[in-house]
């Protein structure tokens, strides 16, 4: 029996017929298994959702408690039977609560890794390699030019600039779930203990991370009493990247635009976005990590989803792995 008889892409997402469920469906379905809380993977409106407790909490924060009719949490490493298959969740190292989903059927195993990274992250559990026959990998940064530098070194760039331009506010664009908290945690780790100002859209998620034991130190909303621009001189302000193009950013004195993202590796890309201080911080694997992971797991087949499938497919061919791009739609390339 072929692997894709029991797990294959459909317009609604990756579907498993013998278990009658979808993984990270992009449309409302009867039964959804969800890898992590980013909006393009976790959507509201399913009848029943199985996910880690933290992912369920994050979905409730974003969409309200009623985002699905039934929810069920599952701990990492626990086997659960659904129809004719059994599934288990394993840490993916992407954001708080993120998981790879292993699907077992008739003695074979497929692992859908969702989004994942191998770099150390103080805000979530590290990726755990799971032996399998088919490994489904993301390919967001699957080009040899993406090689993420040490994250501590990137945070140091930010701190150096704050010391160099103490009269300017440093606006750090960071995705509201995961990246923002990681940036803040790394700043704390580097010894920065000033109040960090955050955009209103991040408050709930930062509070949630703190409640889960991730220490983010003193945070305050980046609100402004009229006429007191000077309040933010020398401050670090974290907000969603979209906010910095918005009128919201006008409250800060002569701001320096920083952006924490894997895309910042390419200078032209930073320049086009008007970013002055690119911070190459990604919650995805870089090229070397993708290759190391495939070699480590050494699956019979590699299935490649969202991103630059062609480069990773090429590498698999050169290195004698059976590879196939899965054309899954609905996942945002830019989501970082």
């Amino acid at each position: 029996m072929r692997f894709d008889d029991w797990l294959h892409p459909t317009p609604k997402g990756l579907y498993c017929p013998p278990g009658d469920f979808y993984i990270d469906p992009v449309k409302p379905v009867a039964r959804a298994l969800i890898t992590h809380g980013h909006a393009d993977h976790a959507r509201p409106g399913h009848t029943s959702v199985l996910a880690s407790q933290q992912t369920l909490d994050i979905m409730a924060l974003r969409y309200g408690e009623g985002h699905a009719e039934h929810t069920q949490d599952i701990a990492y490493g626990v086997q659960q039977t659904i129809g004719d298959v059994s599934v288990s969740f394993h840490p993916a190292g992407h954001v708080l609560g993120s998981a790879q989903i292993a699907v077992n059927y008739k003695g074979k195993r497929i692992v859908a890794s969702g989004d994942y990274k191998r770099a150390d992250d103080p805000t979530c559990l590290s990726f755990e390699p799971v032996p399998c026959d088919v490994f489904i990998t993301e390919a967001t940064f699957a080009l040899p030019v993406f090689r993420h530098p040490d994250d501590r070194q990137e945070i140091q760039k930010l701190l150096t600039s704050v010391a160099q331009f103490p009269e300017r506010a440093h606006l750090v664009g960071a995705y509201a779930l995961g990246k923002a908290q990681r940036v803040i945690a790394l700043l704390r780790e580097a010894g920065y203990d000033e109040t960090i100002f955050i955009h209103g859209a991040m408050q709930k998620l930062c509070d949630y991370y703190q409640s889960q034991g991730v220490d983010l130190g003193p945070l305050a909303p980046a609100t402004l009493e009229k006429g007191k621009k000077g309040n933010f001189a020398g401050a670090i302000v974290v907000g969603p990247p979209s906010a910095f193009a918005d009128k919201w950013a006008r409250r800060f004195p002569d701001p320096i635009a920083a952006f924490a993202s894997g895309w910042m590796q390419v200078r032209q890309r930073a320049k086009q976005r008007g970013v002055e201080l690119p911070l190459i911080l990604s919650d995805h694997c870089d090229w070397d990590e993708l290759l190391a992971t495939i070699r480590e797991i050494d699956p019979e087949e590699v299935w490649i989803t969202h991103g630059r499938e062609d480069a990773l497919t090429r590498w698999c061919e050169l290195n004698n792995y059976t590879a196939r791009p899965l054309s899954l739609v609905g996942y945002e390339e830019e989501a970082e």
Binding site: L143, P144, V145, F146, R147, P149, Q164, F165, F244, A245, D246, K247, W248, A249, R250, D254, P255, I256, A257, Q265, V266, R267, Q268, A270, K271, Q272, R273, G274, V275, E276, L277, P278, R308, D310, A311, R314, W315, L318
Partner: protein, 545 residues
């Protein structure tokens, strides 16, 4: 090299002048000799390193990496040096030296390496660098840093290290060689001012303020001389005797960049020990050519004989700074002018002539000369007159832009009513504002873009335009928004500019010089904005079709 590469990384993405100055100053302060001096030489374009060809770099990376993966990478990044710097597969060998590569090692080694040995050398350097250093190294080797820092800006940063004026640096710059250790010592207060032993050095230029209406009531016309301000490039032609008795010659731009190599025709004509301040022009059959003709000769490293025949270069002299080794700059303008007339007359060339004085006794007469230069001495070259210069007869020649001795009185700027088509977000203080505008005029039923402007408006006007852009966006392209620009709805901008040329680069076929937003015409419907024909009527006669 690591500090230098981080500096370049920051400069590339820092749009503001003050931000760049800060980065440069911090780098100069924290980096030792000779490293910082070589960096200064690289940024100011004073180092001529044997260069590496792109094909060689391509071969290098493809010997380490699958060509298909390289092609996919290059296609994504778009810049060869950057692609290689990012994708370079490091050899995971623990015995590679982990120490920082120094600019001085690179410069010294490259100079004594043959072309055949270069690839192996570059390969070894790439192996011991991180991606930021690799990028700096490859940009250094392929020539052209493109970090948006002029030589003048780098010298300004240096001057600010020791609270000096940048003109003090210009005064000695052309006698110094990399790595400029004496220069750094002087600005930091640990050494004497370096002597300039260049026989043909650059003397920082004297500049003028625009004259204001109320200035005339305070000033006496009898104290001033007036001359035409020609529409070319302000230059300084400098010749002086070297110790061996030979005449050394140089041609400098207003900012002290030596451009002599592109003007051998002029250098040959400058056959006497003198330094002239004047305007670089192209003259054909005795007539001054429009600025875009002169442009054929600008920004070139060398020039062909054909080029020199087709576009003969010329200097129209305004002032005399040094003659036969005597510095005349402290003398009054009246005296310098007298000596200039004699000096230019003594040259056996028609390539250097004198800019005529305008005769007048009242300010009204000056105004008339500005209005109709053709009738006041400019004759057939009146199109090439940008305005008038007013200089106090008793003024010394001082570097910079002192208030009072010299004024410029430009002809009224040209203006056009154009329609806002695209807007782009600015940087720094303007980073949340749409502050760069592309505007167009009508050709038949459609608008064609004719230029871009990003200043001229007040802060309040900026807010108004920004609001208009946000409320009328019809398309987005990255940081650029296209706004509504129909016959009925749109924003009309009165755009002032200094001149107009034919251009093959713009769809409209014209290019403006120095455009800026003069007024917002909320009152005017877009349909009544100007048409391309009315702009074409402003082209210099030669350029009209």
């Amino acid at each position: 090299m690591r500090a230098f590469s981080h500096l370049l990384d920051r400069l590339i993405l820092t749009p503001q002048r003050n931000g760049k100055l800060r980065l440069l100053k911090d780098y100069f302060t924290t980096t030792p000799d000779p490293e910082r001096g070589l960096a200064l030489a690289v940024i100011t374009g004073q180092l001529n390193l044997p260069s590496a060809k792109p094909a060689m770099l391509r071969d290098l990376i493809q010997s380490r990496m699958d060509p298909v993966l390289f092609a996919l990478s290059y296609d994504y990044v778009g810049d060869l040096a950057e692609t290689i710097s990012l994708a370079w597969p490091e050899k995971a060998s623990p015995d590679l030296p982990n120490s920082d590569l120094h600019l001085s090692d690179i410069v010294e080694t490259l100079v004594k390496t043959s072309r055949r040995e270069t690839p192996a050398l570059v390969e070894a350097w790439l192996d011991r660098s991180d991606s930021s250093v690799r990028y700096a190294l490859l940009k250094l080797l392929t020539g052209g840093l493109r970090v948006g820092v002029s030589a003048r800006l780098a010298k300004t940063a240096l001057a600010q290290l020791g609270e000096h004026d940048v003109d003090e640096i210009e005064e000695i710059w052309h006698g110094l060689e990399p790595p400029y250790e004496t220069l750094f010592a002087w600005v930091e207060g640990t050494g004497p001012r370096p002597e300039n032993d260049n026989p043909a050095p650059f003397r920082p230029a004297m500049l003028a303020h625009p004259i204001q209406d109320d200035d005339f009531t305070k000033l006496d016309a009898g104290d001033f001389g007036a001359e035409f301000k020609w529409d070319g490039i302000r230059v300084q032609a400098s010749a002086g005797l070297a110790l061996d008795g030979t005449l050394k010659r140089a041609l400098y731009s207003r900012t002290g960049e030596d451009i002599a190599r592109a003007f051998p025709d002029l250098m040959e004509a400058l056959d006497a020990d003198m330094t002239i301040d004047g305007e670089l022009l192209v003259l054909i059959e005795g007539r001054v050519q429009p600025f875009n003709v002169l442009q054929q000769r600008l920004n070139r490293k060398t020039v062909s004989a054909k080029m020199m025949r087709a576009y003969p270069a010329h200097i129209r002299a305004y002032d005399l700074l040094v003659e036969k080794g005597t510095d005349l700059r402290a003398q009054p303008f009246s005296e310098r002018r007298k000596r200039l007339e004699q000096a230019v007359a003594s040259l056996a060339t028609s390539r250097i002539d004198i800019s005529p004085l305008v005769n007048f006794d009242t300010w009204d007469a000056v105004a008339a000369a500005r209005q109709t230069p053709a009738d006041h001495g400019a004759g057939v070259d009146a199109d090439a007159v940008e305005g008038l210069m007013l200089k106090r007869w008793d003024s010394a020649y001082v570097p910079g832009r002192p208030k009072g001795p010299w004024f410029k009185w430009k002809r009224d700027p040209l203006s056009v009513d154009a329609v806002l088509m695209y807007a782009q977000r600015g940087h720094g203080k303007r980073s949340s504002f749409y502050s760069d505008y592309t505007f167009g005029v009508w050709r038949d039923e459609e608008l064609v873009p004719v230029g871009k402007a990003y200043f001229g408006f007040t802060d309040d006007e900026l807010k108004e335009i920004d609001r208009f852009v946000r409320n009328n966006t019809i398309n987005r392209f990255g940081p650029v928004r296209e706004v509504t620009h129909s016959q009925e709805v749109g924003l009309v901008l009165e755009v002032a500019f200094e001149g107009l040329n034919r251009s093959t680069r713009h769809k409209s076929g014209v290019a403006m010089r120095f455009p800026r937003i003069a007024r917002l015409r909320w009152d005017k419907p877009p349909a009544e904005a100007d048409r391309l024909e009315s702009l074409e009527a402003l082209l210099p006669r030669e350029d009209r079709v």
